[in-house]
Amino acid sequence: MTDRIFVGTRKGLFELARHDGTWEVADIRFLGDPVSAVLAQGDGTLYAALDLGHFGAKLWRRDGSGMWEELAAPAYPPKPEDAADDPHPWSLGRIWALEPGGVPGRIWAGTMPGGLFRSDDGGASWALNDALWRMPERRKWFGVAGGEQPGISTVLVDPRDPRDIRVGVSTAGVWATTDEGASWRLINRGMYNEYMPPELREDPISQDIHQLARCTAHPEVMWCQHHNGVFRSENAGANWTEVTAIRPSKFGFAVAAHPRDPQTAWFVPATKDERRIPVDGKVVVARTRDGGRSFDVLADGLPQHHAYDLVWRHGLAVDGTGERLAFGSTSGGLWISENGGDSWTAPDARLPPVSVVRFAQA
């Protein structure tokens, strides 16, 4: 188990530490600045992406000794003349996902407006994945959620093979590479968007992937909190089955997969779609332990009266044991469980709106 949690918020990065069974704010960095992504590596290195309103997206790294250093942020190449009709800018909007690449030094960064970047030197330099960026279908991506631009919200590297990667795009479905990003395919089948025009309802590229999660021990099992509901895949994102048993509602943004048990996952549902608040003003976590056939609605320790907390895509995290979970909300709520979600406690803090929660790696 890990005794550190990193919480990226609208106003800085908060580090929580567990002392004598109580979680407390132990450190604050970038106070006042929006944090859009966090990555905690097993060697103690910490990455934080900022989304500065005036001055753009930034990337910082803290080494094992605690020293922070600003790194060069991923940069898009010059827009060529033959891309004049590209509906999306060739310019970094936001760093939205930072994920380890499975080999030393490698990190993947998912960004808005849809570029996937790779670093092989611990974030010191970045290169745009040209193959995905130049897919003709990318021009059909659209940015209904999370901003005006499409964005890569999830990057999932197969723990058995770092060349095998799934990328979730909001909005453009699930993309796969098995050759380290040299070529890509749009793979998702079985998802549907009930709000789309009929001819696009089941179109793979029209699927709004709010967030993907995969079971580390059984990487072929993936879960998706989709704009239109919850889906599960048993073949690494190629075919999806809707999980209709989710309660109290099927709308939401976040999902966490149990690291060992492919039948267990957690969600934080909200009323769909225009309101985006907890059902009946009660914050709950939905947990399945049987592959989505049934759900427990977990509320012990969570606010049940006039609570209007929404949890964004990266706002829910599970640790390597599957026992500790944490999630943070748009109202600055933060709740931690040490028993798989059965009960929750809140640290003594009223945080800024939470964008991302991650556990330190043990």
């Binding site: 500065l52 309103g53 753009g56 930034k58 600003e70 940069a75 060739w90 310019s91």
Partner: protein
């Protein structure tokens, strides 16, 4: 030589002192600053080399016009000010 001054809001992130620079256009003046302080470039310009959407630049109190080509002329006695262009909660 023209003078270029940066919003103090930048000081939270990195040094950005007022300096005299060479150059006859805004782009040349900024390039002279960034040659000395390369980390500052990404705070003022985006990755296509245009002024960031929420950065405003004035030359002698006049808002510059060419935000992508940075071709607005600057004279030897001109004062360039780089500001942030919005605020919020």
């Amino acid at each position: 030589m023209p003078t270029i001054a940066f919003t103090r809001a930048l000081e939270r992130f990195l040094p950005a002192p007022t300096v005299e620079v060479s150059g006859t256009t805004l782009g040349e003046a900024l390039a002279a600053v960034f040659a000395e302080r390369p980390a500052l470039r990404g705070y003022v310009l985006d990755d296509q080399g245009a002024l960031r959407r929420h950065v405003a630049v004035f030359v002698n109190g006049e808002l510059v016009r060419d935000r992508t080509g940075l071709s607005d002329p600057v004279g030897a006695r001109d004062e360039i000010h780089v500001f942030q262009a919005l605020s919020g909660g």
